[in-house]
Symmetry: C2
Subunit: 351 residues, 2 copies
């Protein structure tokens, strides 16, 4: 604490991301990265952009990237916003679209960055508890609010809502913005991006960090009504004119245009997930049905933190949250078949 800090800084409780260990030789199943590399076309596009042209600023509007995203979703460029990872996109959405008189609503168990944004921008919020099966019940959100946000599928549970539930919520909630955070949508969930033309208060966010295997490149985006996008652009242009660098732009465009590759590696992850869930079940683990590239699982008798520690001794890292309701669960990223087999073998010895 320093007398030079602003009040805002003094009151912050920053987000703590999952560990990025500098050791190699680890099986890293803690931060929901893809076990497969990005599209070879993305790497080739980056190589082509890696020239003396880096002396020039990037396009501040990222037009080519917006066009590629718009095309994939059957939308127009002015329905697309891009940022330095979906975290930056979400930050701008909190300040620009979710800061109102009434508290915003999000689940009690969800992406733990949401309350951090609220703290940063002085936004009041109310947690809506997941039901006893750790499911979001959208009817619980039908109340006065300044906005609604949740991931679909939810994190860290992996549980998804059908599109019909999202649509019903939007039909009931027309006076505030609803943000559906679809970081994990490509692993088996129907995207709400198809509802964007129908609901002017719907914002859907995506990231290239998971299914596109480009966590290292920092690109995320949002789609929504042009008025919502304009709000995000106004915040962005009051903060940083050029958040997407030239290499990220080139790589992201090529990755998004390569939908075939996206589908092939997403499908592989889904297959591995189904096998892992069965294997965990045979070891006694109870796993929440997952539509994500991770599973949320607990053992009926063995303490979750103890399992995480024992796994780490065997050079396998998973994520454990010391939080009410979920401190007996582990969030395990889906790795390759080989990595998941190693995990299962290690767990056999531990439990």
């Amino acid at each position: 604490m320093s007398r030079f800090w602003s009040k805002t800084v003094k009151n912050l409780t920053p987000y703590v991301p999952g560990e990025q260990p500098k050791l190699s030789q680890l099986i890293k199943l803690n931060t929901n990265e893809s076990p497969y590399g990005p599209s070879p076309k993305a790497l080739a596009a980056i190589a082509s952009a890696n020239t003396d042209g880096l002396r020039l600023y990037p396009d501040p509007n990222s037009d080519s990237l917006k066009q590629a995203i718009a095309k994939v979703h059957g939308l127009k460029s002015d329905q697309v916003f891009v940022g330095n990872g979906s975290d930056e996109v979400l930050a701008h959405a909190f300040l620009g679209l979710l800061k109102h008189e009434e508290p915003i609503l999000f689940p009690d168990i969800t992406y733990s960055f949401y309350p951090v944004y609220c703290n940063l921008y002085d936004i009041s919020f109310k947690n809506i508890p997941l039901d006893e099966d750790f499911a979001i019940n959208t009817k619980d959100y039908i109340r006065k609010n300044g906005g609604i946000i949740f991931p679909n599928p939810n994190a860290p549970t992996g549980r998804a809502l059908p599109l019909s539930d999202i649509k019903a919520l939007l039909e009931s909630n027309t006076e505030s913005v609803v943000v559906i955070d679809e970081a994990y949508v490509d692993y088996g969930t129907e995207s709400a991006a198809t509802l964007v033309n129908q609901f002017p208060n719907l914002l859907v966010t995506h990231t290239l960090s998971k299914s596109y295997a480009l966590a290292g490149l920092r690109v995320g985006y949002a789609v929504g009504h042009p008025d919502l996008i304009e709000a995000l652009e106004r915040v962005k242009n009051s903060f940083n004119s050029y958040p997407i660098d030239k290499l990220a732009m080139a790589g992201a465009v090529a990755a998004i245009e390569d939908q075939e590759y996206l589908h092939s590696i997403s499908k592989a992850v889904i297959q591995t997930r189904e096998t892992l869930v069965k294997d965990l079940s045979q070891l006694g683990f109870e796993t929440i049905p997952s539509q994500a590239n991770f599973v949320f699982t607990k053992h009926p008798s063995k303490d979750a933190a103890a399992i995480a520690t024992a796994l780490r001794e065997k050079h396998i890292i998973v994520r454990h949250f010391k939080m009410a309701r979920i401190d007996q669960y582990l969030r395990i990223t889906i790795g390759t078949d080989e990595q998941c087999a190693s995990l299962v073998n290690a767990l056999k010895e531990i439990v």
Copy 2:
């Protein structure tokens, strides 16, 4: 305007960056980019990082980059903060270190992003007029304030203050943070980074977008007392855990380690600047003494906006600001010798 916008968004007046034209065949002297490419070592480092490893998140703390920066300045890593361009670094400094009860102070003619940040974060400010020679008089800043910020050399004037003036200001102003924005410091100005160990309220910001010729990569940094750096880290970790992507990290480390290249291209720009100032003088232009990679110049009889338009017809872009006191000036980025010769020839025809 939309009913879904927050009050913050409704009140914003976003920054307008210089044009990034999509046409080639232009002589682009409008956004102070380097006429030379980045260090070949930076391009090689980026190529080495362009692998399947992009599937993993970058180091959220950017340790290797902080170490490289600390070494160049003879500081420690905990005295260094890094961000997605110095604009992001400045944004976090405004929210974390310059938002207090008293208004902050900056020149009436300066980087036009400063009032935009104040607007975004609801920070009160007071403009201190430059003197009639467009110089900053640091004595004018000895008054109650919530913080002080100005570029050295100043933009868009290019005029620099000696380090002794900065030091005297810091000796008088001990109760609030002083930010010296050194975006253009490598073209002939003494850096205040050497004063960081002496003054716990000094923050010095740098960018890789100008002298390092990496505007396309989006990397900037700040050096200061660890308490000031901690404030920036707290804001950053409440906003976006990973603002520096893996490619930017690799390229920036290599560029910073190649000080020899930095000095060689900075020296070339300084030499071209001296020639251009002489050539402009022969055409009747009056140029403010510049220590930057641009000059700020006016013609005694020909309207600045008209000159800018005429240059554009000849495929040369310079920057003109429609603002009080400076609407008869043009800001011209220093290009290569050939580009500046073309500019001078075009101006000969115009004036």
